[in-house]
């Protein structure tokens, strides 16, 4: 199946000479959730803004559902929804009117039933006649989402959707993202919160200094780049690693009370069983064993660190 969004050699240079994007290539598959990770100023928002028509690219091309974003902008913008990072809303407009306005701008005839459903889904319906300036930050965020959903886009960009949002709203939002995906919407989200990407994304893209460092299936990425670590808690502390165990590369921790062993989770042999038998042969009594996997955050920090 052809990708729904296809980005080829996309560049953006500002008049100041700053290069926000340095030749980005990216394919986004229909129906997936792609999380774009990257530090501030990495180029995430610039890339989204170009696809949506807010920023003019310096070079390269983008197609959405087969149409070029510049020559066929009517077709592409009609199916793209954008929830911007900043809470930009008209202070004096009501919730209902601003959502209906978005629908109209995208060329759709009025559909009060749909808008009512969207507002109810986002727990905004009882605020429909409230002026936007009277809403809290979390409510404004919901309004921005309602606006983007008002014309039923097929591709939805969420630029830092959970920045400054409390835990319960964040959970609501993740559920909403799941529902949208179930209805076939392709979702691209940028985030600083790595656990967010870890929780909901199918694929992870890492972007830094205007370049995509990698795009990979989340599970594959974590298996490939994630390290596993086994910690063996000993009944009696050791002062040095016994010679019998030195070939495993284990290290002592917690004042000799723990042996730490790092292994490759995706490897054919993890070496765990032989290590355990070596332990018992060395006459060491084991009190407890635990394993843990490095998080996406560790992977991310490592990747972005390398790019520096």
């Amino acid at each position: 199946m052809a990708p729904i969004v296809s980005i080829r050699n996309l560049t953006k240079s500002y008049a100041s000479g700053f290069q926000a994007l340095k030749g980005v290539d990216l394919d986004i598959e229909e129906g997936e959730i792609l999380a774009l990770l990257g530090p501030n100023g990495a180029g995430k928002t610039t890339m989204i803004s170009i696809i949506c028509g807010i920023v003019t690219p310096s070079g390269g091309s983008v197609t959405v559902a087969g149409s070029d974003i510049l020559t066929d902008y009517r077709k592409t913008r009609a199916i793209i929804g954008l929830v911007p990072q900043e809470l930009t809303l008209d202070a004096f407009e009501t919730v209902w009117n601003t959502v209906a306005f978005s629908r109209g701008l995208h060329g759709c005839p009025p559909n009060p039933a749909l808008i009512e459903r969207i507002l109810r889904d986002l727990s905004l319906y009882d605020k429909k006649d409230t002026m936007l300036r009277h809403l809290s930050g979390g409510m404004r965020r919901r309004v921005l989402i309602a606006k983007a959903l008002s014309y039923e886009p097929k591709v939805l960009f969420l630029d830092e959707p959970t920045a400054g949002v409390d835990v319960s709203l964040r959970k609501d939002m993740w559920q909403l993202v799941e529902r949208l995906r179930a209805s076939g919407v392709t979702i691209i989200l940028t985030t600083h919160y790595i656990e967010e990407a870890e929780e909901i994304a199918d694929r992870i893209g890492v972007i830094n200094h205007g370049q995509i460092l990698l795009v990979e299936d989340k599970k594959a990425l974590m298996a490939k780049l994630g390290r596993k670590q086994m910690t063996v808690e000993l009944a009696e502390p050791l002062t040095a690693v016994p010679d019998a165990l030195s070939s495993y590369g284990v290290t002592l921790a917690e004042g000799g009370g723990q042996l730490v062993y790092e292994f490759d989770a995706s490897g054919e042999r993890t070496g765990i069983s032989s290590l355990l038998s070596a332990l018992s042969q060395a006459g060491l009594r084991v009190r407890d064993i635990s394993t843990e996997q490095s998080s996406l955050e560790d992977i991310f920090v490592e990747l972005v660190g390398e790019g520096r």
Partner: protein, 253 residues
């Protein structure tokens, strides 16, 4: 053509007018009534008729033009400046709408509002002085063309302005002298020859003169020249607006 989008922008702008009824309708009516009391009744009663028209009636077309220019520039500029200022412009830029449709929405609403206020001023004026309209068709034509071209002019100011200071520069500092020195309150025949010549460089003179001609058939310049001037101004504004959207000037990076 994205008709729904045009309707949405137009309705949004007209709703803003309804929310600020006092400022947008009542205030210009009061201001103009004061002009008629002071210039029409108090001072006007001691002045000679100008080419057979009483002074109060003579200044009516100029006052309507003064209000129309201010309203159109004010609404046209604010309508597009405010989304730029608050950041909600992102939505306009990311919508499937063409330049032309954006302009029709914003400028159409600004011109409509200007015409509503202008009409109210005309009605108010007729309560104070005797007004006759000899060429109703030409009067409406001047009225509408001026409203549209100055709303477009305002729209450009709104895009150009980077702060409220610049936004207010034209309506507060440039338009009043042009209107006052453009024969709104006198015929330029009354000026010394040098200032008469200078006045011919003032575009507002042509608007006021043409508009007044459609009322009383008296004019400082030929009505044809007036009409050509308005059309020329409209063409210049349209060209600049097209350029703004083509290049993204001050709208897009």
């Amino acid at each position: 053509m994205n008709i729904e989008a045009i309707k949405s922008i137009y309705a949004f702008e007209m709703a803003r007018t309804r929310r600020t009824l006092l400022q947008s309708i009542v205030s210009p009516v009061i201001t103009t009534s004061l002009y008629f009391i002071v210039f029409g009744a108090a001072i006007g009663s001691r002045m000679q008729e100008i080419q057979g028209v009483s002074y109060g009636a003579f200044i009516a077309p100029g006052l309507i033009m003064l209000t129309l220019l201010n309203q159109c520039i004010g609404n046209g500029s604010f309508g597009i400046y405010f989304p730029k200022f608050t950041g909600t412009i992102y939505e306009i830029l990311s919508s499937p709408i063409s330049t032309l449709e954006i302009v029709i929405g914003y400028v159409g609403a600004a011109a409509t509002k200007g015409l509503i206020v202008g009409t109210i001023i005309l009605v108010t004026a007729s309560l104070f002085v005797d007004i006759s309209i000899r060429h109703p068709f030409m009067m409406v034509l001047f009225f509408v063309l001026t409203a549209v071209s100055f709303s477009l002019f305002g729209f450009m100011i709104g895009i150009w302005a980077k702060d409220f200071e610049q936004l207010n520069l034209f309506p507060m500092l440039i338009i009043p002298p042009l209107v006052f020195l453009g024969g709104s309150f006198y015929s330029i025949d009354m000026l010394p020859p040098f200032w008469q010549a200078v006045s011919h460089f003032n575009p507002v003179l042509y608007l006021v003169s043409g508009f007044r001609w459609s009322f009383y058939e008296i004019a400082d310049v030929s009505p044809v020249v007036s009409l050509v001037t308005v059309l020329g101004f409209l063409a210049v504004c349209l060209t600049i607006t097209a350029w703004i959207f083509k290049t993204g000037y001050k709208l897009k990076n």
